[in-house]
Point group: D2
Chain length 296, copies 4
C-alpha cells in the first residue's frame, strides 16, 4: 500500500522546475518576450494567425493572405503537410506538399505577411524553412521528440500545439525539448482536449481556456489559443475567440477561408473574410479591456 | 454488428426536441426572459450572485450581503445545507442548516438583496422558500429527480448546477423535469467538469466555457457560470469570470468572503470584497463589449 | 504559486484512512465478510444478482426469478423505481412503483430467492424494506447523502453503485455515510465510467475493471461489477463478466430478460435465460481458477 | 442548428468500413491469422511478450531473455529507444540505442527467442530490422504516420500501441496506414487510457478492457494488452493480466525485470522472474477456460 508514492501522479511546481528548468518561470513576473518577423510575442500585442486549414491552391492562399493582412492579421496560417487519420486522399482533399510551400512563399511576398505552417518530417525542414517564419508542430506530433528536436535546431521559431489527450505536464515537456536545443522562440498553442461529458452532440473537442491561466502561472512562454479546431463549428468560433482573449491568451489562431462551405477539409469550422474582419475589431475591444491589443 | 444503432450515443437536435420539448428552443431566436426579485434574466443584464460558500455565522453573512450589494451584486449566495463528500464535520466546517437559513433572511433585509441557496431535501423546502428567491439544486443532486420535481412545484425559481460528470443532454434532462412541473424560471449553471488531461497539478475541474454557446444553441434557458468552484484557485477566478462573459453567459456566480484564507471551506477559491469590487467593474467592461452589462 | 498545496487533488492512503476511517482497511488482510439472506459476501463465493432492468409486470418477474434461481443466481434484481433522464414515460416504459415492489415480493416467495431493488426516495423505504434483502442506491443517487443515510438507518444491506463521473474517493465517501450509521453490510458496485476516448461508436460507458484491485487495496468492503449497464451491448456482456471475475470482483450483477429484444428499457443489453445459464457455468470455471466459485 | 451533421462524431460501422477498408472485418468471422518467428497470432495461442522496459545492459537483457523463455514467453520485449517526457537523462536512465539493439541481438541468439522493440525514427529502421521480429510503434508515435508508413514498408510485423488519448477510430486509422503499405502482420496493443475519474490516487492510466470485444467486433487484427504500463503498479498486474485473457485478448505484453525495484525506469511496475513464471501458469488456466492457451 505504498502506491501513493508512485511517480507520474500530480507533480508539484517544484518538481516541474526540476524537470522543465527552461520552460518553468524563474519567478512570478518572468515572461518571454521576443519578435518574429517584426511582430512581438509576449507583450501588449496579441498577434493573430489566420488562414485556411489546407493550402489548397495558389489563388486561394494568395487571396486569403491579402485579405487577412488587410483585416489586421499578423501571420498567414495554412498547411501543405497534414497528418490525416486515414491514408486515403480524395481529389479535393489532398496535401499539396512541396507545391503548397511554394504557394505560401508567393502569398508571403504578395501580401507582405509572415507565414506559419506545419512540419511533419525532418527531411522537408530545409525546404519549409525557406518560406516559414514559424514552424508548427501539430498536436498529433506533440510527442514526436525527434521531430521537435530537429525543428528546434533550425533556429526557426516553433509553435507546439497541445495533443488533445495531453496533460499540461506532457505539453511543457514537449516545449522543454525545443528550449533544450537553445531555441528560445517557442509558442504553446491550446486547441481543445477530448472530454467525456460535454459536446458529444456537437463537437469532438473542448477548448480548455482554464489552461491559459494555469500554464501562464508555470511557464514564461506565450500561450496561443486556436478556437477553430476545438469548436469545429463556425457559430462558436467568435464567442470562444473573445473568451480566449478575456482569459489572458497571448496569441490567437483562426481558420479563415474565402468560401468556408467549400473548404477542402472541415468545412463547418472556417469563417469568411467579412466575419474575420468584424471579429478582429471585436477581439481588439476585449483586448483593450485587459490592457492588450489585437490591432496595432 | 448493429450496435451503432444503440441509443444513448450522440443525440441530434431533433431528438432533443422530442425528448426535451420544453427545454429546447422552438427557433433560433427563442430565449427565455423573466424577472426574479426585480432582476431580469435572459436580457441585456448579466446578474451576479456573490457570497461565501457556507453561511458560517450571522455577522459574516450580513456583512457580505452589504458589501457585495454595494459592489453591484444582484443576489447573495451562501449554503446552509451542503453535500459534503464525508459524513464528518469539524467544529469550523459545519452546516448551519435552519439557523443559517434564518441568518440569510436577516442578511436579505439588512442589505436589500435577493437570496440564492441550496436545497438538499424536500422536507426543508418550505422553510427555505420563506427566505430564498432562487433555489439552487447542487451539482451532486443534478440527477435527484424527485428533489428537482418537489423544488419545481414550489414555483420558486430554480438554478440547476451541472454535475461534473454530466453531459449536456443529462443536464438539459434535469431542466426538463423542472419545466415539466410548470415552473418556467429555470437557470442552468456550469461549474466545471472533471477531465483527464489538464490541471491535475492545480485543480480538480475544468470550467467548460464551450458549453455556453453549445447550450444556448439548443435551449432558451439562461446559462450561468460559476468560475470559483471550477478553478478552485483564487488567481484564476478573474480571467475565467471575464472569459465567461466574453463567451456569452447570462449570469455569473462568484464566491466572495470577507476573509478568504479563513473560509470554513475551500479557502483557496473565494475572493475578498476589494477584488470583487474591481472584478465587477472589469466584468462590466467586457459585458459592454458584447452588448450586455453587469452594473445597471 | 502555492496551488500545488490545494486540497482535492490526489489523496494518499493515509488521508483516506483519516477521511474514511470506517471504509478504509485497517491492514492489508482486512476484508468484510457478512451474510445476506443466507448468502455470504466477501468470502469464496461470488454471489450473482440477475434479472431485468425494470419490473415490467408480474409474470415477467416471477418467471425470471424462477429461471435465474434455477441457473444458480443468488439474488433477483429488478427496478420498480428508476431515475430516468427524461420526465416522460411511454406506455411500455413506465415505472411500476408500488405494484412492482408487490410483484417482487411474489417472485421472492415463488422462487425462494433474495431481492435487490433500487430506492430513490426516503418515503418509500418502509414499503421497499418489506420485500428487499438489499437496497440499491443507483449511480445517479450516489451523492444523495440524505438518501444513503436514511437507507442505512433501516439496517438493510446496501449496494452503492458508482456514479459514472465519480472518482474512487467520491465512491468511498458515499460508503462512509452508510457505515457511519452503523450499517456494516455495504457492497460497492462498479458499472462503467464515462470516458473521452473509447467506445464512442458503440457504448456510453467504459467498465472500469482496474478499479477492482484499486478499491480492494484500500477498502475491506466487497466490490461487485455490473457489466450489462457499462457495455450496453449484449455481445460484450460475457467477455466483460468473465474478465470481472478474473480481475477479482466479489459479486456480479447481470441484466437477464426472458425476451431481451422486447425489454421495456435498453433492449440491447440484457441476455436471455439460456445465455445466462451458460454464462454461470463459464463464470464458475474462471472463478475456480482464482480460488473462488459462482455455483455452490 | 445543423451541427449534428458535423463529421468526426460517432462513426458507424459502415463508415468505418469505408474509411478503414483494410482494417475492418469483411464479415463477422473474419480474423487475421499469421505467424511471426514461428509463433502464431490470431489463433488458439495467446503469445506473451515479456521483458524489461529498457535494455539497460547486456547482462540484464540476456539473463531476462533466458528466464522469460524458460517460463514460456514467446517474445522478449525491451526498448533501446524510448520517447521520454523530458529531454534530460540520468546516468542510470539512459537510452542505450545502437548498443541496446546489439545486446538484443545477443539475447536473441543466447535464448532462442523472438524480439519486439520500439522504433522512433526512420533512420534507425535498417539497424533495428536486423534484430527485431516485431517493430513496436509506441503510443506517443501512434499518430506519426510517416513513421508508421516507413516501418510498414520494411515488411517486418508491426505492433501499434494505442495512444492514451486515442479513440478506437484513431487507433484503427493508424493500423490502416500500415495495411495500406501491403504489410499484413499488424498487431494492435491496448495499454491504458487517461480518464478523469478513477485511479487518481494510484495510477495514471486505466486499462480499457472493454475495447477488446469492441475492437474485435470491427477489425480482424489481433488485439494485444499491456497491463504493466496501464496499471503502473505491480500488485495490479496479475489481476489485470488474467482479466485481459478472460476478456478475449490475443496477446499479452508484460514488463519483467530481474530486480524490479532497481529498474532504470518505472520501478513500481515490473514483476520478477518468479512472479512471471507463476503468472504464466495462471494465465494459461484462464486461457484454457476460454478455449485458448498461453503455454504450448
Amino acid at each position: 500500500m505504498i502506491q501513493n508514492k508512485a511517480p507520474g501522479k500530480d507533480v508539484s511546481i517544484e518538481d516541474m522546475k526540476e524537470k522543465f528548468p527552461l520552460t518553468a518561470k524563474t519567478d512570478k513576473s518572468h515572461t518571454s518576450f521576443f519578435e518574429i518577423a517584426g511582430i512581438s510575442f509576449g507583450g501588449k500585442l496579441i498577434p493573430v494567425m489566420a488562414g485556411p486549414n489546407m493550402v489548397e491552391n495558389e489563388n486561394l492562399i494568395v487571396e486569403t493572405a491579402i485579405q487577412v493582412k488587410k483585416a489586421g492579421a499578423h501571420f498567414l496560417r495554412g498547411g501543405a503537410f497534414k497528418p490525416l487519420t486515414f491514408p486515403y486522399r480524395s481529389e479535393k482533399y489532398t496535401e499539396t506538399r512541396e507545391e503548397g510551400i511554394k504557394w505560401l512563399g508567393i502569398a508571403k511576398k504578395e501580401a507582405g505577411i509572415g507565414i506559419i505552417t506545419e512540419v511533419m518530417e525532418e527531411k522537408y525542414l530545409d525546404m519549409i524553412c525557406d518560406v516559414a517564419d514559424i514552424l508548427q508542430i501539430g498536436s498529433r506530433n506533440m510527442q514526436n521528440y525527434p521531430l521537435i528536436t530537429a525543428a528546434a535546431k533550425t533556429d526557426k521559431p516553433l509553435m507546439i500545439k497541445r495533443h488533445y489527450g495531453a496533460s499540461l505536464r506532457d505539453w511543457l515537456g514537449a516545449a522543454e525539448y525545443a528550449l533544450y536545443e537553445g531555441n528560445r522562440k517557442v509558442i504553446l498553442c491550446e486547441r481543445g482536449v477530448s472530454v467525456p461529458h460535454t459536446h458529444k452532440d456537437s463537437s469532438r473537442f473542448l477548448l480548455d481556456l482554464q489552461v491559459v491561466p494555469a500554464a501562464k502561472e508555470i511557464t514564461h512562454l506565450p500561450i496561443a489559443v486556436d478556437p477553430s479546431h476545438a469548436t469545429f463549428w463556425r457559430p462558436w468560433v467568435k464567442p470562444m475567440a473573445l473568451a480566449s482573449i478575456a482569459a489572458g491568451c497571448d496569441s490567437v489562431m483562426l481558420e479563415v477561408h474565402p468560401d468556408p462551405e467549400n473548404s477542402a477539409v472541415d468545412p463547418l469550422q472556417p469563417i469568411d473574410f467579412q466575419d474575420f474582419e468584424h471579429l478582429m475589431i471585436d477581439m481588439n475591444k476585449i483586448a483593450n479591456n485587459v490592457n492588450r491589443c489585437v490591432l496595432d
